[in-house]
Symmetry: C2
Subunit: 384 residues, 2 copies
Amino acid sequence: MPEPILDDISHRRFNPLRGSYVLVSPHRTKRPWQGQQESSNKIELPAYDESCYLCPGNKRAQGDVNPTYDSTFVFVNDYAAVREEQAEYEPPKQDGSLASRLLRAEATTGKCYVITFSPRHNLTLADMPAHDILPVINTWTKIYTAHLDPHSPLANSAKPTTLPPASMNGHPVPSPTQQYRYMQIFENKGSAMGCSNPHPHGQVWATTSLPEEPGIELVKLREYRREQGGCNLLEDYAKLESEKGERTVFENSSFWAGCPWWATWPFEIMVVAKKHKRALVDFNDQEREDLAETIAEVTRRYDNLFETSFPYSMGIHQAPLSGTAEEIEASHFHLHFYPPLLRSATVRKFLVGYEMMAEPQRDITPEQAATRLRDCGGPLYRTR
Amino acid sequence: MPEPILDDISHRRFNPLRGSYVLVSPHRTKRPWQGQQESSNKIELPAYDESCYLCPGNKRAQGDVNPTYDSTFVFVNDYAAVREEQAEYEPPKQDGSLASRLLRAEATTGKCYVITFSPRHNLTLADMPAHDILPVINTWTKIYTAHLDPHSPLANSAKPTTLPPASMNGHPVPSPTQQYRYMQIFENKGSAMGCSNPHPHGQVWATTSLPEEPGIELVKLREYRREQGGCNLLEDYAKLESEKGERTVFENSSFWAGCPWWATWPFEIMVVAKKHKRALVDFNDQEREDLAETIAEVTRRYDNLFETSFPYSMGIHQAPLSGTAEEIEASHFHLHFYPPLLRSATVRKFLVGYEMMAEPQRDITPEQAATRLRDCGGPLYRTR
Ligand SMILES: O=P(O)(O)O[C@H]1O[C@H](CO)[C@@H](O)[C@H](O)[C@H]1O
Ligand SMILES: O=P(O)(O)O[C@H]1O[C@H](CO)[C@@H](O)[C@H](O)[C@H]1O
């Protein structure tokens, strides 16, 4: 059991994966809420929507027509944040001037994909059984593999060859024209999380630069490995949490899923590979099935918690597409789920003033959150 | 002029105050928006609301009655995130176990105040002329002074003695029972920013710990000072920006206000003291008036931009209440405004999936944002 005193006092918890703190104020949920209410997502959607740019057979904003796909479907984002081709930019010389010191920029190129999770407009991952989530994992694995540096130690990981090719307008995903450094796979779910289309889909942005968050984590993972004689931070962490159990929401033989000790969002969940897996490409068939089961269990519990389609942002952190052997070996596959709701289907936690200016602050403990999510198992509330 | 190529290509800009990057994708605003619409704040409010817990003479949630104040009014938050008194917590011993390495916590005590900016329920800083904002600045200065470590080099800064005392239920702000490390002054404005009461007010949280964000900035400010022979990063930056002009929104002889080179939010503004000022307590009467003018100019332009009551979180970063002489000397007074709106009064930028998992990303350049805000001067649109 956690020390019960932490349920009552204000304290800071340390996040060893980022080297940062979060302020925990467990007594704070008692305050009344008179602020903004979210819409509660009670609208019934059709299985096919002719105005949706993701439904099979429909035309997209820039004129392309989607194939009549029956599982996942991948295409290059029509409004990509980064592109493969753009004008060359040469940063100004470091000449010791104030401008060269304080106004620094560098060009970034890359590629943005959209991946639909299902042809059906009105499903979400929470509605999908594990065997329907497996094709999504297979598609992620294929895209990751197609962009991997051929010189990476991961390129020898032969396991995903058993996967069917990810289709893109019916063709396999093309190889990129340049070598990217990192691939961020993520999903924004729900309008509260900036998602503008309810059709189940996620995104993949590959860039020539290593973005901030995986970059920070990689520094910490490498430090831990050096300091702890080759042990892996997240392997150790999953082992510890699985033994303790108080922050566990779900686990199977390959993954631990729970509210991390250092969670920022009220019902934040981290999914961690129990063994040392560097990236999607390291999983065998059984492990991919276990990951599908874990994602199904997490997303279903989220929806059951407040009996609503639970909004979140989800993302995968894993080894960079290209990097040093040490960077790739220190990487450890995990998923973050950042959901905004706090008290009900309509009252969210705002990470605003103090959180933006000073430090993230949470109102319930991760142990309280995990207990509630653990108890939300069973069939999806909508189908009961 | 900035290099025009940066208006067209994806690039990353470096933030030397945090040591972090932001991804800029200027072409991205072209994508259509079908997502969440914010409410546009068109509701007319009364000057006095009998159900508001901040209006003069009203009773608050826990029974205290507000005085009939006529300018600002300070009280201890009825639902404080940190408190002066709580049970003692002794962190577990560092015994080399996984738990002691990965499940780390420390107790935090502190004090949370609420400060009303005006007795009138239906005003905002944007409605208030500079001479009505001055009492707010004076109250911030008084609270900061009352919590300052008596051994701090700042304690000798005699300038604020000319200020009238900040009143708290008609009494001066009491001295704290313990020495705090940092004081975060901030305002959440608008329901989109988690503000649950439109009555103009801000908050002050003082804590025994130095929070993350000012802690990160302090490291960078100290580094710059050491590396640049005693120069101050933000003094250099304000000088450079004031000369260049392309990111300037407003300036007077004491402050530069503009969209920083490394802005994350679409219309983010930073207000920087032009001379080296460590904290509120360093300002003379003229400088406090200049700060009031700058806050008036910034908030009025925000409202004029989309002709709406513009939501934002605003916060002051300055010297810690207690710290080493070097920390205090390296501190430089500045304000951050983080507003969420992107395209109109109802369409915001969501910093979600990619931004949470990988790296902040923005859709317009800071130069484009500053040009629009610069052109929004003049009287408040509501009064024209
Ligand atoms: O204290 P308030 O205004 O009730 O609450 C607001 O500001 C706090 C400090 O930024 C946040 O922790 C809350 O999530 C937000 O709703
Ligand atoms: O790409 P989408 O789904 O249109 O847009 C959404 O996700 C992006 C990536 O997290 C964000 O930059 C946008 O602010 C958000 O609205």
